[in-house]
């Protein structure tokens, strides 16, 4: 069974600085997808970034980028130039590429607080 581990329950960063959130996962699959979701106090889960395991190039979306290390099964999220609106819970998630159910398996989350 696949598992996703986020070892940092809480993180804090000063506005405009850079922060990295850690995520590791365990799977025997070779092809899969990885995601980072953001959940602000509004409860809305927002897709931040996705990575296809067969792609070696790290995904980037504006201020958000990942460091995907497939051999190490690591998928960290870097947020550059942190903004107050980045304050939220961040979830790392895994999805098998093939399978009857394309369900997301989530980590327990990291609560990020951006300080002014």
């Amino acid at each position: 069974a696949q598992t996703v581990t986020q070892s940092q329950p809480e993180m804090s960063v000063q506005e405009a600085e850079t922060v990295t959130l850690s995520c590791t996962y365990d799977t025997s699959e070779n092809n899969y997808y990885l995601f980072w979701y953001k959940q602000p106090p509004s409860r809305q889960m927002i897709l931040v970034i996705r990575q296809e395991a067969y792609k070696q190039q790290n995904a980037t979306e504006n201020r958000f980028s990942v460091n995907f290390q497939k051999a190490a099964k690591s998928f960290s999220l870097k947020i550059s130039d942190s903004q107050l609106g980045d304050t939220a819970m961040y979830f790392c998630a895994f999805m098998k590429q093939l399978g009857a159910t394309n369900k997301l398996i989530f980590g327990t989350g990291t609560l990020l607080a951006v300080q002014p």
């Binding site: 996705r50 159910t101 398996i105 980590g107």
Partner: protein
């Protein structure tokens, strides 16, 4: 619609009562998922619908939980004889296909008193 819509936003119910939670996915999305999020925890998969295929119910925690999806669109999650441990946020999501990620609704916060 433009997004995934869930109702009610909040629900308080007495222990032992039945509740129904509704999810209206994005038009055209064939896949629909229900997740449960207990306070301070991650998301726990409950059930998955894909088109006309039989749903994957492997995440439902007990036979008090059931869900249906009518006409391949709106879904209802029903919890019978609610217990206090059912208190959580219930999130619905829909998707066009695998690997594309899901679009989530804002959830229903269920409180069983």
């Amino acid at each position: 619609g433009a997004g995934v819509s869930q109702s009610p936003s909040n629900k308080v119910t007495e222990k032992g009562k039945d509740v129904e939670l509704r999810c209206d996915p994005i038009s055209g999305h064939t896949a629909l998922y229900w997740y449960r999020q207990r306070l301070g925890q991650g998301l726990e998969f409950l059930i998955y619908f894909q088109g006309n295929s039989a749903p994957d119910k492997s995440g439902l925690p007990s036979d008090r939980f059931s869900a249906e999806r009518t006409g391949g669109s709106v879904s209802t999650l029903t919890i019978q004889r609610t217990q206090q441990e059912d208190s959580a946020v219930y999130l619905c999501a829909s998707s066009l296909g695998s690997g594309l990620g899901y679009t989530f609704g804002s959830g229903t916060r269920l409180t069983v008193v």
